[in-house]
């Protein structure tokens, strides 16, 4: 029963997310709306963590599993990809590493600058 209630809560929030996606004319997907919505519900106390804990932990711990069909769908797109496959793979590889480094570098730099700012106060 407890788990059913949790499924109802999480899926209910996701349904509202889908409605928001349809109503708001921005390319923000239902899943991101649902995440923001669920976060706000937790913040304002409309939901407590124990309302969804087990369901959330199940989904979080097994998250990669739900991406298998998306990965398999690559074979459906292979026809279109074939002509650009080499630059495609190079771009995916290189830009992912560059983005990773740029993000981490910025966070570390800003954190250091802020710490230094505090020391001067």
């Amino acid at each position: 029963m407890k788990l059913l209630l949790q499924i109802a809560v999480v899926f209910g929030v996701c349904l509202v997310g889908e409605v928001l996606e349809m109503l708001v004319p921005l390319p923000i997907p239902a899943s991101v709306w649902s995440m923001v919505l669920l976060f706000l519900c937790l913040l304002c106390g409309a939901l407590r963590e124990e309302h969804i804990r087990e369901k959330a932990d199940f989904l979080l711990k097994n998250m990669a599993f739900f991406f298998i069909p998306a990965g398999v769908s690559i074979i459906e797109h292979y026809g279109v990809l074939k002509s650009v496959i080499v630059p495609f793979l190079i771009i995916c590889f290189v830009t992912t590493i560059i983005t990773f480094a740029a993000t981490a570098g910025t966070v570390i730099l800003v954190t250091r600058l802020m710490d230094r700012g505090k020391e001067h106060e």
């Binding site: 937790l42 830009t95 966070v107």
Partner: protein
């Protein structure tokens, strides 16, 4: 006999069974080999593709169950809110680095994709398809469509980026000597969206929560910035 087999393959149960078995096998191999390249998700995807190709199963049959598994992606992304909420204190303390890191990361992602597309002389349709590749699939597809990109290339780029992120994250953390878990988590989420986040969650609670935060912020930044690209 063949008809019976095709019927079994077309049952949603078959795809769910095959995917779960492939995922368990992926984890088992990952534990045995212990290398980043032996990523459980990558192995599972390869095993499923190999199986349906070998047995001659049409992708439509696999999708009967595949669509059911994919339906859980929405709820799985939504509950990232729980992991972020659990790290609320860290998020509050690091609000400025969080925003700065994801904004810079998202811009660098789009700029580097654009630069490399020019270098390889790829046409507009492919460039527009690749630009939003570091965001989660629905956001990336929405942006690519608006700019006339080829959507199937976008879907493939997002998935490949996610696999690369999940596969390389632990190696990159070591390579760049990142000791700050906030920086590591944000870097994973900004560069490789939800698929990278699935790996970040296994690295640590702070990494997972920050990676989840980055999906939302990076998605938003990419959406806003792509409006100016038109």
């Amino acid at each position: 006999m063949n008809d019976l087999l095709q019927e079994i393959y077309a049952s949603p149960l078959f795809a769910v069974f095959l995917s779960a078995a492939a995922y368990l096998a992926g984890h088992w191999i990952h534990r045995k080999v212990g290398l980043a390249i032996a990523n459980p998700l990558l192995i599972a995807i390869a095993l499923v593709i190999a199986t349906i190709q070998l047995l001659g199963i049409p992708i439509e049959s696999y999708n009967q169950g595949g669509d059911i598994i994919a339906m859980f992606l929405g709820p799985a992304t939504a509950v990232l809110a729980v992991s972020i909420y659990r790290q609320m204190d860290i998020l509050k303390k690091n609000l400025i680095p969080v925003i700065a890191g994801t904004v810079v990361g998202s811009l660098v992602s789009m700029a580097s994709v654009y630069g490399l597309c020019r270098l390889f002389r790829l046409d507009e349709k492919v460039t527009a398809a690749l630009l939003p590749k570091s965001t989660t699939t629905p956001i990336a597809v929405g942006i690519a469509e608006q700019h006339g990109g080829i959507v199937s290339i976008t879907v493939a780029a997002v998935v490949i980026t996610g696999i690369i992120g999940a596969m390389l994250a632990p190696t990159l953390i070591k390579l760049f000597r990142i000791k700050n878990p906030v920086a590591a988590g944000l870097a994973i989420g900004t560069s490789s969206h939800v698929m990278g986040t699935s790996k970040a969650l296994t690295i640590g609670e702070v990494e997972g929560a920050m990676s989840g935060t980055a999906i939302g912020v990076a998605g938003l930044v990419t959406v806003i910035f792509s409006i100016f690209l038109q």
